[in-house]
């Protein structure tokens, strides 16, 4: 396990003028783009492949491999879509990059678009991120004026347009095909797959979609080399990573460190430990609310990377890590998680449309003290009825955490049912 020697993604986020092109350029912004444009696009793809970079949006799919899915011979225009719809509860890292270092994001986008020979890069930013939208919008205009976007970028002969597209409030638009539907001016319904975006993406044209953090780290790979990147972290889990700490932690925030940092180091050293020193950590949601919950006991030797969390039956997801201390009612916590999914289900598929709402209402009823024997069995069985039966994985993202809460904190659910009340009381319960 190799540690991260210096910050890569967040090196400049604390600087007040970093969103300005001149200031950013003075600190080296777009130098790597110049370098990339002088090499073949394939060289960038190979480098990203060799780095082992895995997507930072949630699924952790190898980015370089994804890029090779784009058709080589095609008369259709190719697109890069930037997924800036950061909406997974507990996640706020892309927002930091877009608001504080938009030119780093843009440089990564442009290099990646070059690698893909894309003619348009669409940035789909969630509607609530008005500050990020404005900052990125200004950065795009500055870059356009500087000849970094548009026709014949830096004399390379390559034309690229960047279109910033603002969402309007829908978590599901973070799902890549729902995002494309939304970008096309429709309800954000995930598409049937196949066909996959690489062959049939935006407007039916070949499209690659990547997360902001994923693209923002590409300049570092091109600049420092794949070997440098692959040397950080451990095999198949390489590179620098942004972790979002929230909930019952003393110093919540975004932390850049090597992928695979052990949980105790992340929580204790970087996060400063529990918010209330008198309280004990009870549970951790390790990868955004779609990730199955972990008990504190399971986190002792946990490596916070894709494979480390998968080995423990959860996932790194978007690296939104929510800490819960022993004051938390886990039934109420699940109610909050499920309320989110009931609210955000797009409603397209039957099992998710009805199931997301149903499981939320069962848990809300148990939390109110109106649960009865058999509710937990129904809850788990309804979850099973949702899993694997829908167009996208949203239903799984609601059902699997629900099952994990019941499995790991069953006694709290049973207490609610037998006492016909929340044992934690009204204040926090």
């Amino acid at each position: 396990m190799a540690a991260l020697a210096e910050k890569v993604l967040t090196r400049h986020v604390g600087l007040a003028d970093q969103a300005d092109l001149r200031a950013a350029a003075a600190r080296g912004a777009y130098q790597t783009l110049r370098k990339a444009l002088s090499t073949a696009p394939e060289a960038v793809v190979e480098s990203v492949k060799a780095s082992g970079l895995r997507g930072r949006g949630g699924a952790g799919f190898p980015t370089g491999v994804k890029w090779t899915f784009m058709p080589k011979e095609t008369s259709k225009p190719k697109y890069l879509v930037v997924n800036a719809d950061e909406s997974e509860p507990g996640t706020f890292k892309d927002r930091l990059l877009m608001e504080r270092d938009p030119h780093l994001c843009l440089e990564g986008i442009l290099i990646s678009a070059w690698a893909l020979r894309a003619s348009i890069a669409f940035i789909y930013i969630r509607g609530e991120f008005v500050a990020g939208w404005r900052t990125l919008g200004r950065a795009i205009e500055q870059a356009r004026e500087a000849g970094l976007i548009g026709r014949d970028v830096l004399g390379s002969g390559w034309d690229i347009d960047v279109i910033l597209h603002r969402g309007a409030g829908a978590y599901i638009c973070g799902e890549e095909t729902a995002l494309m539907e939304s970008l096309e001016g429709k309800r954000g319904y995930p598409r049937l797959k196949p066909p996959f975006p690489a062959t049939f993406g935006v407007y039916g044209n070949p499209t690659t979609i990547n997360n902001v953090e994923t693209l923002a780290v590409v300049p570092a790979i091109v600049e420092r080399g794949a070997e440098w990147f692959a040397g950080i972290g451990r095999e198949k889990n390489t590179g620098p990573k942004l972790y979002c700490l929230s909930g019952h932690v003393r110093r919540p925030g975004v932390y850049e460190t090597e992928l695979g940092i052990p949980f105790p180091a992340l929580f204790g050293e970087l996060g400063g430990g529990p918010l209330d020193p008198k309280r004990k950590l009870k549970a951790v949601i390790p990868g955004g609310s779609s990730a199955p919950v972990m008990t504190a006991g399971e986190c002792g030797d946990l490596l916070m990377d894709f494979d480390g969390l998968a080995a423990k039956g959860s996932m790194l997801g978007s690296a939104g890590i929510m800490m819960m201390d022993d004051s938390v009612c886990m039934v109420r916590a699940l109610e909050r998680v499920l309320r989110f999914y009931a609210h955000e289900s797009c409603g397209q598929c039957t099992p998710c449309r009805v199931g997301s709402d149903w499981i939320h209402r069962i848990v809300a009823r148990i939390e109110r003290g109106e649960g009865t024997t058999g509710d937990l069995e129904t809850l788990v069985s309804v979850c099973d009825g949702m899993v694997g039966k829908t167009i996208c994985v949203f239903a799984d993202a609601a059902a699997l955490p629900a099952k994990s809460f019941v499995a790991k904190f069953r006694h709290e659910f049973n207490d609610h049912i037998s006492r016909k009340a929340c044992p934690f009381g009204a204040a926090r319960g």
Binding site: A168, G169, S182, E184, G247, M322
Partner: protein, 169 residues
């Protein structure tokens, strides 16, 4: 908690969009390879002018984009940030999802409700504030927080919330 109910709140007849907004919608249309992509931007422009997306505006946009009004209304009602009826001058969206809840968003909502004399989902009689509880706004490290209009307000306490509300006229 009562069962969910379908239906969207609709305003009585409003008015159409100004020529300036329509011009900007046409500009938005021109930015995209395919016209329909400008639907969300057009609705943002409509809401910017009217404070919500009136049925008249939706019909105008439908005609300009080349889709049916029902299609536009389906899109409008899919996204939580578009309003279909007039709202208060300041829409206070308090995040109440997991991280904010862990850091006291329920107490914050109760505090604001008491302060404004309305429940979440309501608008003050003077039309100054609409209070809503919303799902995760991606500001979990600075919880609890709220969005008012375009701006995020983070690390809120009852005291800082009060001061904030005071500044909004």
């Amino acid at each position: 908690m009562s069962a969910p109910k379908v239906g969207i709140r609709l305003a009585p007849a409003g008015k159409g969009l100004s020529d300036e907004t329509l011009r900007r919608i046409d500009e938005a249309i021109a930015r995209y390879p395919v016209k329909q992509s400008a639907l969300l931007p057009a609705l943002w422009l409509a809401q910017q002018e009217q404070g919500y997306c009136s049925t008249e505006a939706q019909e105008q946009i439908a005609a300009r984009i080349g889709v049916s009004p029902a299609f536009v209304a389906g899109v409008v009602s899919f996204y939580t940030m578009y309003h279909t009826a007039p709202v208060g001058r300041h829409v206070v969206d308090v995040c109440t999802t997991v991280s904010c809840w862990l850091r006291g968003s329920d107490e914050l909502v109760r505090h604001i409700e008491g302060r404004l004399g309305i429940k979440a989902g309501q608008t003050t009689p003077d039309g100054r504030f609409t209070l809503r509880t919303v799902e995760c706004l991606g500001s979990c490290g600075t919880a609890p927080m709220c969005q008012i209009g375009d701006d995020y307000h983070e690390d809120l306490t009852p005291e800082t919330m009060d001061r904030l509300l005071e500044t909004l006229r």
